[in-house]
Amino acid sequence: MNEYTNYPFSAIVGQEEMKLALILNVINPGLSGVLIRGEKGTGKSTAVRSLANILPEIEVIEGSCFNLDPATELETHWQIMEAMGHAKPGTGERKIGVTRRKVEVVELPVGATEDRVAGTLDIEHALKTGEKRIEPGILAKAHRNILYVDEVNLLDDHVVDIMLDAAAMGVHTIEREGISFTHPSRFTLVGTMNPEEGDLRPQLLDRFGLCVVVKGTTSIEERVEIMKRRLSFEKKPEAFIEAWRGEDEALVDKIEHARNIYPEVIASEDCLKTIASICLEAGVDGHRADIIMLKAAKTLAAWYGENEVKEGHILKAAEFVLPHRTRRLPMMEMEESIEKIIHRSLQG
């Protein structure tokens, strides 16, 4: 994906919820991603692709096809190099180069096959040299990046299972076609879907940290503004991007700031209790909702430049965390609004 042809993130009109959910995930990759549900033509894909403009830079080990972190994954790097036959075990001086590059949006196409996603035997190498070598798949490329799955509900079942496995563990293990290989694969999962075309399995829903529902705007002014901006972008993309550069950069700075203060954000005992009681009241399965809600509330606090979680942060976080998790028969609509649940739990 070429960053110069992406629509500027800050030029997106409205859709504040979706933008906020995406930003939160950029600040804190620990939020395990966001699922964007909405009809076609509501700007879901545009927003995700334009994320590329506001992503922060990270340090990576030079020449590593796994985007490994020089600070924490040095050992892993050498293990992988050995496993791939690029380095000899435990000999000589080991030096690495470090480069900086932006976090990327890696796309997983709907038609992707199992072997491309998981990684497989490098056929060319095997034919030429008679040696087995792994050809890393999309899950390798996605490490420390954003993995974007458009129409995630249409993905093949077993591809979804493989992806989920990696998303849950942060590590991907390949045991196929004569290859046995493990590499880190921690990514922020961003999925978009149109619920009309079939829903996701609850298991997959639960793996997305946050969920937002987008609707086309009904305000005439907004619609006109969207058209105007889109047309001027299509006419002269460079000029348009240049015009919005300032805003995008301001956003990047704000994100950077939030990233820096996040470790200092404190959640009081009362906050934890509030979160737990909201989740109990909502009747969620398991504990993932609690944990994500806590992280989301902390991230929100950081985004607003505060160093303590307040009730408002929790309530906002609940709106992102609960919609796709409330316990129900997998296919039934959610009958109660999130507000009601929150209200009840705060009273109780």
């Binding site: 034919l127 196929r176 829903d199 009747g283």
Partner: protein
Amino acid sequence: MIAPSSPLPFTAIVGQKEMKLALLLCVISPGIGGLLVRGEKGTGKSTTIRALRGLLPLQSVVKGCVFGCDPDSPSSWCDKCRQRAKEGSLQRGSRVMPFVELPLNATQDRVLGGIDISKSLKFGRPMFQPGLLARANRGILYIDEINLLERHLLNGLLDAASSGLNKVEREGISIVHPSSFSIIGSMNPEEGELDPQILDRFGLCVEVKGEEDLEKRTEILRLFDLLDQGTGLLPNGDIKNKEEEELKLKLEEATSRLKEVEITDDKRRFIGELSISRGCLSLRADLTLERASKALSALRGKREVSTDEILEVAPLVYQHRAKAHPNTQENGKSHPNGDKPHNNNGEREDRNAPRDRPQGPSHLPQKEHKGSDGHAFREGMDEEGSAHDGAKAPEEKVFDVGNPFNVKTITGSNDRAKRYGHGKRTPTFVFGGRGRKIGPTCSRGSYIDISFDATLRAAAPRQRYRSKGKPSHGLLIHIEPQDLRFKQRKGTSSNLLVFVVDASGSMGARSRMVASKGAIMSLLLDAYKKRDKVAMISFRGSDAKTVLPPTSSVELAGRHLKGLPTGGKTPLSKALLRAHTLVTSALLKDPLLRPIILLITDGRANQTLSTTLGPVEELEVVAEAVSRDPRTKFIVVDTEDALSLRLGIPRLLAKRLGAAYFKIEDLKADHLISVLDLK
């Protein structure tokens, strides 16, 4: 090596006592036969299981043996170790008990073992590359989402687990090696169940669920808040680490003490009686219970098993087995998850009796219904409340959806036709790049889908004499046509379930509609698990309408179902024709689709298409006509209730259609015994 690890040490995990105990028992005594952990998503199943890595004891092994043979147990040695012993070159070493994880993407050659391409090239003969089963020997094999694993892989695994041997007969290799391991599986029953015969092969089983106590939940959050801060500190800091060390030591002791633990015949008899009283006739249960209680005694430092230990582990053993017993079915309604493990003998009966219901989403705790204002499912057929809830007009009512249940398995017959679909209900061989690759084959389909790895494996051993005197094209390997292997994929052709729902006035009586909607909802949920397509036609008054064209969104179908009004006459024959038209056009689009028409009606047809025939005669004519296409299967669900006069039209209709006939009550599955195969 890099491995998926748990963010928490084992001892820091809050609650989940039963699962933790079961895991420890598996480490102490591999003979127990493994453990299955069932539970909702996000309850810490895999976190806890992976945390076991930190506790694994050391074991002594034969130095240099790929299978990690036990130097003290010559009967379990691999061929190489036997040879080593003969030559006197057997040396002792030690290693941490292996914990091997089997990812869902695993292919057969990696699990069971297969040809090693590089080595075979070098030596010019088939060389064996050990798979995961070799690595897991004398250790633990963990499979997350075990219910999603390919059946043929699972069977191979369980065979090895029970025999302690892995036999590889493929690709020109014939080898047997020791492979005795504890298999630990975790699964979310929402995603589909394991077959009962597979369930029985797991020694122990635990159900886990999230904490419902506010304090405990907060405690868990606090733990994760600390983790999130990344200081590496846990609550009570080093104390936890000390606990972890202590537990590790205890485990090591227990493992070495296990052989000395004894059990008297009296206690054995007690076990036998326990099994019989549970209605559990599988002898595996007795054996497992004996071994598990021995392991628990070893953990507690005892030399002899007492009733306490037996009773404590009994729930883990009977959890998944007692289900099959017919006598326990009456208690089907109570929820098995609620109670905690305890040692009290008296209460035990109650605890195990109700476990006959499968853990589908259909019996969520009753509690959740209370808060939703009149929308959620009523308990059973609560007539008064439901019949008046959504009333719009006198003769048009919207009924609630009755309580859903698990339905019997409805499958099409398995055939060998090649399809391109990807549902889950009816297994079929798939060519054309979709479906999960299940293995290589020599026969090619019309679609070229070369399995390179298998081709290379086939070609590798022959390279030595092939490479002479032939141009190489820059490649090291010469591949000849006879080496080519193609991918054989197994998918499941998708079914199209057409629900033809009677919404006429007669269905409103005696809350038939509530029960029917409940039944349809159950079938829809089942359709979701099997990834079927669904469509819905409703008929009342003078018309039959396609409420929902074929879609894979079961949610949409559920919504339509909920809002389906009732009232008016019964144009049954028209509905049949409409369903037929819908199926025919769907078949034109996708000739390999397998349509199943589900007719849900009380059969009181009173609206005809023409004026020449009576409603019932006309129905018979139409039924005969639409049933001529052999691709479509029919199922008639009779909603006539026993209390009113039965006219028996649905049964007649089923006969004319060649359909399977059910009463609503019959649909409820006991999920173990009732497999309906529509052949």
